[in-house]
């Protein structure tokens, strides 16, 4: 009995631990990135060829060491977060907004609306990402806004599919029917009753996609389709450091850790948010 109680209270402590660690990781990194213009006014671009490839934890000037051009790794990791976080978060928010709306409308209204919207989704899913990205960027040119646009355009369909599936299951549920019987209008049913019930899976997919998109940005940059390669970003630094992995691990390991902690933090926050949104989960802790 006592053991079980200890287990259950440790579970509830773990729940708040999720929130604390999530805020600590994701929030800490975000804060540092936001403060980067003050912390590193040079944008991590000043080179010092005399101080090339200094290992980390050896000099106060370069705590995390320097890269092959003598740029400070710490400065570049924090400055690089501007691009990575912007791309990761904005693209996901954009995609989730469009996808969720389309999914809700298609799932709720069925009929011709659904057929048109979902065929469009199917076509979109059939196009390879790289092809769409190349086409887009060839026409519009490179740049962070275009990278985000490509991601939104290619990823909203995931949310649309996910949401439509959940809505299809939900709309037949009795509590939706009972709301309709009471005289609740479609808009209120969709946003007050269906949306809160599909948020759980959306939140999970969102946190997964943030990490995905941070790495995707670097692939696009690597292919010359993304952001100006001279502007630091986590994905870009990972790619750059690859060649020095044998001799100077720190050049790629620290941006990698930055991605890892951001994603971990967001995942923890996502888990917490999902449980928070579910009243049944809230009391069972």
């Amino acid at each position: 009995m006592a053991a079980a109680q200890a287990a259950s209270s440790s579970r509830s402590r773990f729940k708040s631990l999720e929130l604390v660690l999530g805020i600590l990781f994701a929030g800490g990194i975000t804060l540092a990135v936001l403060l980067s213009p003050i912390l590193f006014p040079d944008g991590g671009e000043s080179m010092d060829l005399m101080a090339r490839l200094i290992p980390p934890f050896q000099s106060w000037d370069h705590i995390l060491g320097t890269d092959p051009l003598g740029r400070d790794v710490l400065a570049r990791v924090i400055v690089g977060g501007r691009i990575s976080l912007t791309v990761g978060v904005v693209s996901v928010l954009g995609a989730v907004t469009i996808g969720t709306l389309v999914g809700l409308v298609a799932g709720y209204h069925r009929g011709i609306t659904e057929i048109v919207l979902m065929r469009f989704v199917d076509i979109q899913l059939a196009l390879p990402f790289i092809l769409v990205a190349i086409m887009f960027l060839a026409v519009l040119g490179a740049g962070i806004d275009k990278v985000i646009l490509v991601m939104i355009v290619t990823q909203w369909v995931q949310y649309a599919r996910l949401v439509r599936g959940s809505v299809l299951a939900l709309r037949e549920r009795e509590f939706i029917l009972s709301s309709r019987a009471i005289g609740v209008g479609s808009g209120r049913i969709i946003f007050a009753h269906i949306l809160p019930n599909v948020l759980g899976p959306i939140v999970i997919l969102m946190t997964l996609n943030v990490a995905n998109n941070i790495l995707l940005e670097s692939s696009l940059t690597f292919l010359g389709l993304g952001v100006d390669p001279l502007i630091p970003s986590w994905g870009g630094m990972l790619a750059d450091g690859r060649t020095y992995l044998q001799t100077a691990w720190w050049v790629s390991v620290f941006p990698g850790l930055a991605i890892m902690f951001t994603v971990l933090g967001l995942n923890l926050l996502g888990d917490w948010l999902r449980d928070y949104l579910d009243p049944t989960g809230q009391t069972s802790k």
């Binding site: 509590f175 019987a181 579910d278 009243p279 049944t280 802790k285």
Partner: protein
Amino acid sequence: MSDSTAKLSPQNEPLLSVRSLSVEFGTGQGPFKAVKDVSFDVRPGKTLAVVGESGSGKSVTSLAIMRLTDYTGGRIVGGEVLFRPDEAAAVDLVQAPDSKLRQIRGNDIAMIFQEPMTSLNPVFTIGNQIAETLILHEGLNMRDARLRARELLQKVRLPDADKLLDRYPHQLSGGMRQRVMIAMALACNPKLLIADEPTTALDVTIQAQILNIIRDLQAEMGTAVIFITHDMGVVAEMADDVVVMWKGEKVEQAPVREIFAAPKHPYTRALLSAVPRLGSLTGQPLPKRTPVMVIDGGEPKQVGDTHVQDTADYAKPILQVEKLTTRFDVGKTFFGRVTHRVHAVEEVSFDIYPGETLALVGESGSGKSTIGRTLQQLVEPTSGTVRFEGRDMAAMSQGERRRLRQQIQYIFQDPFASLDPRHTVGYSIAEPIVVHGLINDRKAIERRVHELLEQVGLQPQHAKRYPHEFSGGQRQRVCIARALASDPKLVIADESVSALDVSIQAQIVNLLMELQERRHLSYLFITHDMAVVEKISHRVAVMYLGQIVEIGTRQAIFENPRHSYTRKLLSAVPIADPERERAKMRIEGEIPSPVRPVGQEPAIHRMHEVEPGHWVAIEAEGLRGAA
């Protein structure tokens, strides 16, 4: 609670003795004791009924006997289960090794579950599933196993056994599937059959058939049966001995006649007082509220009073339904042409008067729910007119139709499914008020919600809780409060008490009747349960295959049923009285399907009036054959 083993002579030594069995489940809040120190015996060839309401531990007990609790997160923490398949030795199933248990399960002890829909594997044919058991336990080869399977299907009186062997579960009706389950359970001539609510999910006429089959086979094969149920009517019809369980404990054990004649434990008395008895209102034309016994702090207490209600006002109907027809298209060709239709409702006409309860009874597929949903504008009618307070619904504007949704409210069957889990019950109850703009002041809405909660017997502070924090009965009260929030004139109750335990059911029925008296509500009470109908309704309409076959005052329908289907329905209801003659009218046959190819319209019954206000369909030969 005398120990019945003491005086047993050797030849009827119990087949199964459960001694001080306790079962625990691990939960987030620590271990939960689902079964506490339960003991009973099962005599060979006899039926022991284990009765109790949800959460009483009756199902867990049955699972623990087979040690199936190992697979559902339960743990047997004490006691023994002695099984004596033959003279030689008794096996303690609690201590037995897995290999021994596998040998016993399905071979010496077989089990039937409640849901015939989910307990058959959808990807195997019926024949293969029965054969599997035979090959496993009897070591037969495939050919012999199929032959035996056919025999078994014939034994449970399934017609066309040859064809059935190659059918898949989804091609059979619920009753047929349950018979297949029984055939599988009996495949190896088990000594003991455990039936866990085997007829709860079935229609009454099908239930009567299944009960007959189990009884006949038991007599033929000498199988002992443990029958788990919440239905005292079924107990009275099936059991030799009864164990009553309450909150995980055995509170009473006695032969069936004694339980019904002289219940000792307060809980047993409360349970029996709540059981609606068919025929209890004979000679009484109006609905009658009767007190309910509830257990309050271990002591039984009477709640409510005996009270004949005269609420109906037959001057002018509130709702007139005329030749209502609702069909659904199913089955389309590749080019979108409809090939088949479900003829859910065919030319149904009836009126409901202010303050009156009209009961719509029928079995699954009879179209009774479709009528309710059509009236609530959840389904579009194919043809016919519906007039509410004289206004034709089809001629109403959008705004008027919205207002109609305020005047007519709907209570659904499943209180667990009909509340949004993400909102507090206060939010759900306030929603109709907000949506129809009845009150605009936040404080006033809150006051109204509290008032409604009190009216349905809950506390104002419950408004802040979420649906999962309530029991089934409380949730149904919340649903009723929600339906009343918009101050409706007509409430459609669709099987609203069917999913509840009997004691809760009696309370909710009383609540509905009390509200009817206080607010002069009209009810359209849709149900399959004849005993509840008798208590609550003024008039009754009996539906069969989308059409009303008999309509009249409750007294006329119950005391003078004219249509063969009404009689069949009434005779199928299990009567909670073990003194009654058990062998009743034999009921055979399935309910035909309402799906028809396009162009083959069903014949519409002509009705004739046998006495004032009592209309009966003139029976065609075809229907007589089917019924």
